[in-house]
Amino acid sequence: MAEAHDYKTIGTRPIRPDGVDKVTGRALYGADLNLPSMIYGKVLRSPHAHARIKSIDLSKALAMEGVYAAVSGADFPEAKHGEIGGEGGGDVADLAKNVMARDKVLYHGHAVAAVAAKSLSVADAALEAIEVEYEVLTPVLDLLEAMKEDAPLLDDHCFTKNLPETPDKPSNIAAVMQLARGDVDEGFAQADVIVEGEYNIPMAHQGYIEPHACTATVNEGGQATIWCSTQGHFEFRSMTAKMLNMEISDLKFIASEIGGGFGGKTVVYLEPLAVLLARKSRRPVKMMMTREEVFRATGPTSGTHCRIKVGAKRDGTITSATAWLAYEAGAFAGAPMGPGAMSIFAPYDLENFKIEAFDVLLNKPKVAAYRAPGAPQSMHAMEVALDDLALELGMDPIDLRMKNAAGEGTQAPYGPKFPQIGFKECLEAAKAHPNYTKPLPEGAGRGVAAGFWFNVGMQSSAEVHVNEDGTVTVIEGNPDIGGSRASMCMMASETLGVPYEKIRALVGDTESTGFSNVTGGSRTTFATGMAVVQACEDIITQCKARAAATWGMDADQVDWKDGQAVPAPGVNADVTPLSLADIAAKAGRTGGPLLGRASLNAQGAGASFSVNICDLQVDPETGKVDVLGFTAIQDAGKAIHPSYVEGQMQGGAAQGIGWALNEEYIFDENGVMENAGFLDYRIPVASDLPMIDCHIVEVPNPSHPFGVRGVGETPIVAPLAATANAFRAATGVRVNDLPLSPPRVLSALD
């Protein structure tokens, strides 16, 4: 377990440094930059899910009073192939075609043209004046149908990747993946009990409350400045540069405050369009999506079809497991089948398993990252199967998981051996939690499930400036989506020994700080935090040197203790300790301003495991499910700011519960999403949920100076199965498909 650390700041719950601006309406988000002479850009979207574009005529729109520019796919340079890193990566040529269709539209809502006009109403009218001629094609809307050999194709040049031999026929299956170990047949032969299931989960949206928005200006020299809501302004910059064939140095991205992302703001949609329109109109252009556009044309995560088979001995030891996982990619390749496949068995120590996964094109929006991309769907299948297995074996579901739990040294299904991890500790905490054993109301049921996410490291930069009065400014490059400025200031405070209140963090634009990958992959507190700690250590090194010079000692004769330079142990000197403020005040005389910096490609992001407990009851006459209680238990490594760790756990639980009960993309037979608004895409409202009890487990990540593991994504993984398992416990009926919407529930209860 964790060594006891006597931290001063870490583990406390101070007010976030950006808080006052966010409770007073001062904080500026993506749509909140208004500039002189600014005009408004709007996007024309395809009315068809699958069609060939025969012609686009912008002339009538351009002739309208108050219309300053109009663009279509022809205004883009040839789309270049190339991978863009980060959690929201993919082929930049596909991303470019997603930003603006070229020869084909591949989903209802796909962008085909854009205009810029003096007002929103004139822009709307201009869109109606654009003439597009389509040749309508048969839409491919069903996942399993899309995989068939004779299915209509989205892309005649799509040949399935990762097959042993390059196929000679194109397919809607963009890629496959396989993971295997041992002998699954032999494993099943040893099993006393085998459970199997097929599970369908529909597409779901991240549902951030802030629609995508940006404002772009381009000067006469071709240099562009873009203010936008993004999870990663450096990656937005590189995507935009590649799509518009620009030099990176000609693009400046300023990350506004971000009104939620959950992975959905890791790729560009509007920004390249705004740059093109601003260049053509020679005016600042602001673009804001409507909520309907957000649903139709951004982000969802994959709908899936999963098949699973798990065999175990009487004592609960799993002898074999297989999984077949099909993921909807939407219009372009890039479904999260990889992480889905890699995570499904990750909490367990399995000798024999085989996992096959498929990335499948169909005429739906291109999927984007959504909190632990791919894992909620695949792990729902495994965690439901384990519930069935526990029932068959007459075992407590937590005991069954403990029997097979991965620990330090277990070889993960995706390759490496786990270092110190906290899954067993989470299971123990769940078993011991009073919510696991407290009595249930009549007719209610309780379910448990486990969750997992890898977490990533990747590149981060940080600078630490010590001001003349000894206060500190931290500059880093990760948009603060849920309190990360607070955790940066806390880690700086702990490292420097300076009170938290004297430190402020700012998210620099792409010209004022070093490159950082996206705020995603649960990496910010881990990787960027590590950069901040190293930059603070750089400051300490400099301070010790300056104190040594002041005292006429060698630098190694000086220590840094409680925010002050002091003589090292055993160094006999009659000097007054020098605080950061003392050293800063004299910095001009000791070598100039104190500036610390660090950049890194962080390694060793520690996996974070969770166990969730859900209590619910079902109205047998209407099929309505009420969640009565929910308990989230998760290993945070070390919770820097426990309130914001709990916030991640609670928010992820709410998203998972929403997906389990009501959230789904509903398409008509033409591929038109029927519920493109918050009225009928039903995310949980305040009255839908109980308080969500949190228990933070702390098994330190050995790769981080404070033991931090990423915590942001794991919380959405377990709630799907925890809810489904509680439903089974309450009703005695197993429903394999989600969501557990009232009509589905009522027909299942018959």
Binding site: E292, N662, I666, P684, D688, L746
Partner: protein, 292 residues
Amino acid sequence: MAGFAYVAPSSIDEAVAVLAEHAGQGLKAQVIAGGTDLLVQMRSLNKAARTIVDIKKIGETGRLDIGADETFIGAGICCAALHESDELKALFPGLLESADLIGSTQIQGRATLGGNLCNASPAGDTIPAMIANAGVCVIAGPGGRRELPVEDFVVGVGRNALQDGEFLVGLKFPNPKAATADAYLRFIPRTEMDIAVAGAGVRITLDADGTCTEARVAIGAVAPTAILVPAAASALVGSKVDAGALDAAAAACSQAASPITDKRGTIEYRRRVVGVLCKRAGAIARDRAISR
């Protein structure tokens, strides 16, 4: 192309004149009360330019008049304001419950009974409750005033009985007699914010020994318009509104329903659940009538 315009007449005559003039010239004019449906429709479904006629500056549309025998609710009064009248809540708890179900607190700060009715959605929550309470529409037009029972006002999905130049001034409800009470229930997948998948409004009158002497049952979201279900009322009249009678009323509602399958529910689901809601609302109305 004619642009948008906005007028806020201060009298009924002025409003009728504006509406009639537009109708005469073939121009589109549309009344705004709370605007919670109108503004959403203008944003996406129907962006056509029109003259928006705000009726909230007219004295009578803001009038709430609880008389000895009947109650008048002006078409411009928002649902939140209705909730601030304890007297109204005591008289028509079911109607007020239905008004409380139109969207969020924010929506209730704007939405009106009159607007909910004129919008003529099959799923309008207040409509079954108003029908159960024998509500009457007070309509002003070029020919003067006329009245129409609520159940005859909505003539189809999104269509109402208003003629050119007419608008809804308010709604009248007979105050409940002794041992009479109403209730309204709807089903939605969440606890708030959704459109009704099915709804049922019930008003019951009991005699001294608890036998139902009069009943009105109306259902919503299960047919092109909210409908009165006389067979469900018949099942209750003469009974003690016990489980058997409620089951019979529920069956009558399921029978009377002609729902569709859409993103909010299936035919089978709506048919069943509307019966469940009738049964449950009937029991609530009965208990309220007993205690009144």
